[in-house]
């Protein structure tokens, strides 16, 4: 490296000559400086030929070059001054709080004002960006070069308060009627109070007739839910919705045409699963130079922050640290990180997730083939520790049916899809357009799925699986399920604030499907204990005490639900287990009624929490399993395909 030239360059910024790059290629310069080996340089050139990414990005993303060294030499290459924003921070007066999104995604910062005018720090002397900045700040603006991490760190430091406020309240301020910030609106409170009064009055006047009417209504609703599930299984089993992308199409995908993909991974007290996460990310079959991975960490969780730093992650991974504030929810963390996401497509993974390596490519392909209004694709979720104990087997059965059969069925019928908490692939600009996630809703994913449909967008299902860690402890499972049920009730209440609006946006099919699928997901488990208890008491004692509650029609419905309903649901779970090639689970399906009992406990707990702690996010403990996704032979062959 020419030391004298470096000194010159470091002293002066550049305005007009930024594009007059040195004739010596940057890669050769880095090799001569001893920062990159010849072998890695050759490998990077090979990747560059296939992906079209800048060589420096490839070297940094692969972890072959420190970002600081790259940007320092890039400055020399372009004859620009290099500044370290940590040692030489920008003037905070120049930092415009409402522009932090631009700074974070376009990667520039107004740095200083000198006698000649404003000096802006950029990370790439990209002609288009410089033209935009000259238009914005005037022709006299000059540029210095800095590191991408310096810009991100500085934006987080200077805009932390505004970022925190926006991540909590942006959605609620934009559309307060569809935010779960308030559990019930005034009109909902009045309606519920009137319903309670009316029920009490009816019970006083004729208790038997009131209970019989209530029993009939619940039976009828559950019958509708059952019919919907039968239709969903039928529709979802169609080949059209079971595979969108083929191996040949994937092989034909040109790496040059792949977009930048952002991956948001919220972590909280997840230090134990960071090594698995690092391996899963490294296994992704997607050019690393086109990955924009954000590990979203909480400021008061030093163990996980330390674990991430120790994991030796490549340059395509950035740490976003969210300052501690309420509500402490995953959607708030996602909103925070959304401001930094640079990808055209965006997905979310949980800390313990192990996605199939080609999932991102499949998503790209599926988006290309899908109509323009499909803005989100939900990948299938399943569990790698499915055989660990009874609970993980039941949980796996449930997920296999939900994600492999029900969700494709919802898509086929045009009913809103409640997204799962992870592996949702989005067109990034649409997520921003709808205001991100609702930080007050504890199933923000389900809410977002409904919101997309309300906004006339469509959600599809992606034929790729992400393997997660199934809860293997009963109490941990109940806590997680309580949160889900609470979130479903929140979501249902939010979209029932203006039923006419919801009906007009979703249409009759979507509206009824919303009630039967989202409503059924919490009303079924809530109704299960009293109905099961009644049945058991009757079976043992043959009492005639319940006869007034069952008219002939109600009795027929109840018998159909008890026999055909439960039987068919068990059968659907058997099919789902079989199609996942897990024959032992086919027999485990017979034990599902015991699992329903656990679901009911969680549902009643959720109801209680909705009243006492509506926005409380019960953290699910991960890393409890003794099974690793990579230990199992059946997963290893699928999952361990090395990425580029």
């Amino acid at each position: 490296m020419d030391g004298c030239r470096m000194e010159d360059v470091l002293k002066h910024g550049s305005s007009q000559d930024v594009l007059s790059a040195s004739q010596e290629p940057i890669g050769r310069r880095l090799v001569e400086a001893g920062l990159v080996t010849e072998e890695r340089f050759a490998a990077a050139l090979e990747i560059q030929r296939s992906t079209g990414s800048p060589l420096g990005h490839i070297l940094v993303a692969q972890g072959w070059l420190r970002p600081f060294d790259y940007y320092r030499h890039l400055a020399v290459h372009h004859g620009m001054r290099f500044v370290n924003l940590v040692l030489d921070p920008p003037d905070s007066d120049l930092f415009e709080q409402d522009k932090y999104g631009d700074y974070a995604t376009l990667l520039y910062l107004p740095w200083k004002r000198d006698t000649d005018g404003l000096v802006v720090a950029v990370t790439e002397p990209d002609e288009e960006l410089l033209r935009k900045l000259r238009q914005q700040y005037g022709r006299s603006v000059s540029f210095v070069l800095t590191s991408r991490l310096d810009v991100l760190w500085t934006v987080q430091r200077l805009a932390s308060r505004q970022l925190a406020l926006d991540s909590v309240f942006r959605r609620a301020m934009r559309d307060p009627d569809h935010s779960a910030m308030h559990v019930l609106t005034r009109s909902q409170k009045v309606t519920i109070a009137l319903m309670f009064l009316a029920t009490a009055a009816c019970l006083y006047l004729d208790a038997a007739a009131t209970l019989a009417a209530g029993n009939s209504a619940v039976g009828l609703f559950l019958l509708c839910c059952l019919i919907l599930r039968i239709v969903l299984v039928w529709a979802g089993s169609g080949t059209l919705y079971q595979s969108r992308t083929t191996k040949e199409e994937l092989d034909a995908l040109e790496p040059k045409t792949l977009p930048v993909y952002s991956i948001l991974i919220p972590l909280y007290r997840d230090a134990a699963v960071v090594p698995t996460l690092a391996r899963a990310l490294r296994s992704l079959d997607y050019p690393k130079s086109k990955l924009d991975i954000k590990l979203i960490l909480e400021g008061d969780d030093p163990e996980t922050i330390e674990a991430c730093k120790r994991a030796g992650l490549e340059g395509c991974v950035e740490l976003i640290v969210v300052p501690p504030s309420q509500p402490r929810t995953k959607p708030k963390a996602l909103n925070y990180a959304l401001s930094f996401a640079r990808g055209q497509l965006l997905t979310i993974y949980d800390a313990e997730d192990v996605p199939e390596p080609d999932q991102l490519k499949r998503a790209v392909l599926a988006f290309r083939k899908a109509p323009w209004d499909v803005v989100c694709l939900q990948a299938r979720l399943n569990y790698f520790n499915w055989g660990e104990n009874w609970l993980t087997r039941m949980f796996t059965l449930e997920y296999s049916l939900w994600f492999d059969w029900y969700l494709p069925g919802l898509e086929a019928l045009g009913i809103p899809i409640p997204l799962g908490g992870t592996s949702n692939h989005f067109r990034a600009e649409v997520v921003r357009a709808v205001g991100g996630w609702d930080p007050f809703n504890v199933t923000e994913d389900a809410d977002l799925g409904i919101r997309f449909t309300m906004s006339r967008w469509r959600v599809g299902v992606l034929d790729s699986t992400t393997y997660e860690e199934a809860n293997n402890e009963v109490w941990n499972w109940i806590r997680q399920r309580s949160r889900w049920v609470k979130g479903y009730i929140q979501t249902w209440l939010v979209y029932m604030r203006h039923p006419a609006v919801t009906l007009s946006r979703l249409g009759w099919k979507g509206f009824l499907g919303f009630h039967a699928f989202i409503g059924g997901a919490f009303l079924g488990p809530l109704a299960f204990p009293p109905l099961a208890l009644m049945f058991l008491v009757w079976l043992i004692t043959r009492t005639e005490m319940f006869d007034p509650l069952f008219s002939p029609a109600t009795l027929a419905i109840s018998l159909a639900l008890l026999l055909a309903g439960n039987g068919l649901l068990i059968y659907f779970h058997m099919l789902a287990a079989w199609m996942r090639r897990r024959p032992i689970l086919v027999f485990c399906s017979l034990q599902l009624p015991a699992y329903y009992f656990l679901m009911s406990i969680a549902a009643w707990r959720a109801m209680w929490q909705l009243v006492t702690k509506p926005h409380y996010w019960e953290k699910t403990e991960h890393g409890l399993t003794s099974v690793s996704a990579y230990d199992r032979d059946d997963f290893a062959s699928v999952l361990d395909t090395p990425g580029q």
Binding site: Q242, L559, L563, G567, L568, Y571, L575, M579, P583
Partner: protein, 139 residues
């Protein structure tokens, strides 16, 4: 090239799976219209196409159709009951193609469970003393 998307309803995919769906719909309509011969014919077509497809490829819809076709044949008439018996035997043959007894039994279970369920429901209703709702069909 611009990709043209047609409304889903009009994407008529005349593959064997859809033929099976049409046969099932026709069988159910024939039952509702009290046309025994037509119902038996379409139910047999539905079951036959499902098992034929399963013999060639194990797809979710095909296995579901096979599972549902057996109880449909069971409730119709003595003639279709005989077809159901033959198809139950075919289920055993199909299951035997799997590797290992666990997989074979599981495969068989996914094909005959609805049929077992129907028989269980009938036994339970008989025990309770309630009439069998499908007695009024053609049996």
């Amino acid at each position: 090239m611009t990709e043209m998307t047609l409304p889903r309803f009009w994407i008529l995919r005349a593959n064997s799976s859809e033929i099976g769906t049409l046969a099932m719909a026709a069988a159910l309509l024939s039952i509702a219209a009290r046309l025994p011969a037509a119902a038996e014919f379409f139910a047999a077509c539905f079951a036959g196409s499902a098992f034929w497809n399963l013999a060639t490829a194990d797809a979710p819809r095909t296995r579901l159709q096979c599972g549902l076709s057996l109880p449909l044949l069971q409730i119709l008439s003595a003639g279709t009951m005989l077809v159901a018996c033959w198809l139950a035997l075919a289920s055993v043959v199909i299951a035997l193609r799997e590797k290992g007894w666990l997989a074979r039994t599981a495969s068989l279970m996914t094909l005959v469970f609805p049929s077992l369920l129907l028989s269980g429901c009938r036994a339970y209703l008989d025990w309770l003393g309630y009439p069998w709702p499908f007695r009024a069909l053609f049996l």
